[in-house]
């Protein structure tokens, strides 16, 4: 499979601040790649480097085998960008802005533009200054999707859209994927990434902390299990990979490392299942594992100091 985007050990500093710190990102042709991280983690910086708006300090970056800084113009004919906070010209209408952006990119498909305006329920005759955040975002989304490009780079594209429009957005992205387009989708709306993306890169403090398919990432986390069994389930506590075990009124609740799930479920089966609920880890839990560390460390630290005080 062709690599469309490749960033290796990329460093970008703003004065003393290291926005990207040996950051890695690989996006393959035809995939919808989720790019996750909290605010200020460096998502937008990475995207702006891919667009040639910023120059990286060191490391290797290529888009379509070209240098996004040097070959910006040629590369931009093959890609479209939806910024996180779309800023429109106050004196132009939304329709004018869509056309301008499309034409400057090398032309857009008027039929597709019209269809998208309908699907997104977008009125193109209003002046830019009167649009809400969601409507400004629609302008960038419609302009990007009506262009004939191979790569879509989207920086939190739905942060202003209402839930109905978000469903439309998901449909449109799926269609683009079926048409063979590659999408890099940055987000902190986790369920959206879960629905749309097959591969995910997680960034934190400028550094790639996790990258792989959703399945690969899931196996790193724990599944939460609630089970009622005919025979007492206390023995489950001793199984490898079982954590946070609680037994109450014959109901066992625990988390289990996802790759150790098989033997545990086997044991529950042999105890006689009355009721079994097993939840796969959500990306929230993945996220909490990466970003919860400081939180946990603080929580642990506080009681300790109290003990010392006593």
């Amino acid at each position: 499979m062709n690599q469309i985007i490749s960033m290796n050990d990329v460093v970008k500093t703003y004065g003393p601040v290291r926005a990207l710190d040996f950051f890695n990102l690989d996006v393959n042709e035809g995939e919808v790649h989720g790019f996750l991280g909290p605010n200020g983690a460096g998502k937008t910086t990475a995207i702006r480097i891919l667009l040639g708006l910023l120059r990286h300090d060191s490391g290797h970056v290529s888009v379509f085998d070209g240098d996004p800084w040097r070959d910006a113009v040629a590369l931009h004919r093959r890609m479209a960008y939806v910024p996180g906070d779309v800023s429109l010209w106050p004196e132009l209408t939304g329709g004018e802005a869509i056309d301008v952006l499309g034409r400057l990119r090398g032309g857009l498909d008027p039929k597709k533009r019209e269809r998208l305006c309908e699907r997104f329920d977008f009125d193109p005759t209003k002046k830019g200054r009167t649009y809400s955040k969601g409507n400004r975002q629609k302008v960038a989304i419609i302009a990007a999707m009506s262009s004939d490009v191979e790569l879509l780079i989207m920086d939190e594209p739905t942060s202003g859209l209402d839930p109905l429009m978000e469903v439309v957005f998901q449909q449109v992205i799926r269609e683009e994927k079926e048409a063979g387009k590659t999408v890099l989708l940055s987000s902190h709306i986790l369920y959206q990434v879960e629905i749309l993306c097959e591969r995910v890169t997680i960034i934190r403090q400028g550094h790639t902390v996790e990258s792989g398919t959703l399945d690969e990432l899931r196996h790193l986390t724990r599944t939460s299990v609630t089970a009622e069994t005919e025979q007492p389930a206390a023995g489950l506590k001793e199984f490898e990979g079982v954590h946070d075990f609680v037994l109450e009124n014959g109901r066992a609740q625990f988390n289990v490392d996802t790759d150790k799930l098989g033997p545990v479920i086997g044991e529950i089966h042999s105890l006689g299942i009355r009721n079994l609920v097993s939840q796969p880890p959500t990306l929230e839990q993945l996220f909490m594992r990466h970003y919860g560390e400081e939180l946990t460390a603080e929580e642990v630290a506080e009681p300790e100091t109290e003990e010392v005080a006593v």
């Binding site: 910023l54 910006a72 910024p83 952006l101 005759t125």
Partner: protein, 532 residues
């Protein structure tokens, strides 16, 4: 009174938000007034000098149009400069005070609605008229403080107390009127730019009415808020009753604002926004076309404004010839030796037109920065438009636009000269004289672009340079500045036409420096990160 609930809180809040902004406006104007007043004893130390200066302003329609009615100028002596100072600098200070007041009010009313912040405020326990009332109160307080500072500045320099108080009060009255007009204007349009424009146009009309009224010695001045303030006659047997006119006008304007305010929704204007085209016009397919479209309104406005300016000073110049033919003193105002009185006068006026046109040229070049800050540059540069093309298209708008604006001024002036002299060549002579200053404008455009390319944070340096140019070229003779202070102004090195000669070398050198700065600036813009 429930409509005004929260006004006091908002006044405090606005004062806190604006404390530095207001301090700069108030101190800036007060210090400028005090400084200009300070220069008079030095510039006109003897009675004959005072008298020639007085006759230059009072007996010349152009002088009268730019200043005021000239009350009690006969009484000016080396011990009493008051009437002269008030007349000379009053009308220009009035413009600054009016602008300050318009900006304060629009900023806290329509601008807040446009950004949506007022919804947050209005959802609290705040009456519907509170923000308008608070904005006018803050503007009134600012004007009151300004009046006190101006009066103090004059008293300290030994001018009579009552007259100084009248001078400060007269200026504050102008501020009050325009603050109230701005409050009404803010109810009408949906965007802050439009409301500010209504205030600005009202100010321009007020200045024009006053100028015309003072030249004709007619009652037209009584239709102008600036005329009302001059009728208070500081240092010239003050009369206080004219104060009632601006106060009454302000009350009516603020009442109108309240009435209009109750008839509309928050965020809406009296003039509803019309839907625009759903598709972009064919010319908007390139970076240049896009920039031209975005600059269109500004370019048209400046072209018309400078054209009217050219017509206006053309009329002044033709009057001046008949009035001043045998006035020896006037020749000193003219820098080119051997020139006729009219040509000398035209040379100065043409330079002024081109200096005013700097506003367009630098504003257009500054879009390279303002579009970047607003996040619009990012939209365009993420398409297949290169930085070189993007920057060049903005620069071209500035260069070609400045040619259009300056030409409009030359044509306006030339048309009047043509009808005065019956000579068609006069039109081209004026046009050529105006266009000859373009290299100086482009030099400032070059500096703007170079700063944007390398140190965008230092962009204010350009405006500092403009301020210096305006200072020496427009107020230099008035302040009696020494000759060397003029040398830094590029408009001294471009041809002084129609009175002087054309130096191709000077044009060439300035143009080359300007081009060099532009190229360097664009290269810098290509190399650096795009800020967001």
């Amino acid at each position: 009174m429930r409509s005004f609930t929260g006004t006091v809180t908002l006044v405090r809040f606005y004062l806190k938000r604006d404390r530095y902004r207001l301090a700069i406006w108030i101190l800036g104007i007060a210090i400028a007034v005090a400084g200009m007043a300070w220069s008079y004893p030095e510039s006109f130390p003897t009675q004959p000098e005072i008298e020639s200066r007085v006759s230059m302003i009072r007996d010349n329609p152009a002088g009268t149009a730019m200043t005021g009615p000239g009350h009690a100028l006969d009484t000016v002596t080396p011990d009493n400069y008051g009437p002269m100072i008030v007349n000379d600098i009053g009308s220009f200070t009035a413009i600054a005070v009016a602008l300050m007041s318009i900006f304060i009010v629009i900023r806290h009313t329509r601008k807040e609605e446009e950004t949506g912040r007022s919804e947050l405020v209005r959802s609290a326990i705040v009456g519907p008229h509170a923000s308008t009332a608070a904005a006018v109160i803050v503007a009134a307080l600012a004007n009151l403080l300004l009046a006190i500072f101006i009066a103090l500045g004059m008293v300290v320099q030994g001018h009579p107390g009552i007259g100084s108080l009248a001078f400060g009060l007269a200026l504050a009255m102008i501020g009050l009127v325009f603050a109230s007009i701005a409050a009404a204007a803010a109810q009408i349009t949906q965007n802050a730019g439009g409301a500010t424009a209504i205030g600005g146009i009202t100010l321009a009309i007020a200045f024009a009415l006053r100028a015309l009224g003072d030249v004709q010695e007619s009652a037209l001045s009584w239709l102008s808020p600036i005329g009302w303030s001059q009728a208070i006659r500081p240092y010239a047997e003050e009369q206080w009753w004219p104060v009632l006119i601006p106060i009454a006008t302000s009350l009516v304007a603020v009442w109108t604002a309240f009435m209009l305010g109750t008839r509309r929704d928050v965020g809406a204007g009296m003039i509803a926004a019309k839907p625009g085209p759903a598709n972009a016009g064919p010319r908007m397919g390139t970076s240049f076309g896009l920039n031209l479209r975005l600059q269109r309104g500004s370019l048209i406005g400046w072209t018309i404004g400078v054209l009217i300016g050219g017509l206006y000073i053309g009329l002044m110049a033709s009057e001046a010839e008949s009035v001043f033919a045998d006035m020896e003193i006037y020749h000193e105002y003219i820098t080119i030796e051997g020139a006729t009185l009219t040509d000398g006068l035209l040379t100065t006026f043409i330079m002024w037109i081109t200096i005013v046109s700097l506003g367009y040229a630098i504003g257009a070049a500054n879009r390279l920065r303002s579009e970047e800050n607003a996040g619009h540059a990012e939209n365009v540069l993420a398409t297949s438009v290169s930085r070189l093309r993007y920057a060049t298209s903005i620069l071209l708008n500035s260069i070609v636009g400045s040619l259009v604006v300056v030409s409009a001024g030359g044509i306006g002036l030339g048309l009047v000269r043509m009808s005065d002299t019956g000579n068609t060549s006069e039109l081209f002579r004026m046009l050529g004289a105006a266009v000859a200053h373009l290299p100086a404008i482009w030099l400032l455009v070059g500096i703007t672009i170079a700063l944007i390319g390398f140190v965008p944070r230092a962009l204010a340096l350009v405006w500092a340079f403009v301020a210096y140019i305006v200072m020496v070229e427009m107020f230099g003779p008035l302040l009696g500045l020494p000759d060397w202070t003029y040398e830094g102004s590029p408009f001294r090195h471009t041809p002084q036409l129609p009175a002087g000669d054309v130096s191709l070398l000077a044009i060439g050198i300035i143009t080359v420096i300007a081009l060099g700065l532009m190229i360097v600036g664009i290269l810098g813009f290509r190399r650096r990160d795009l800020y967001a």
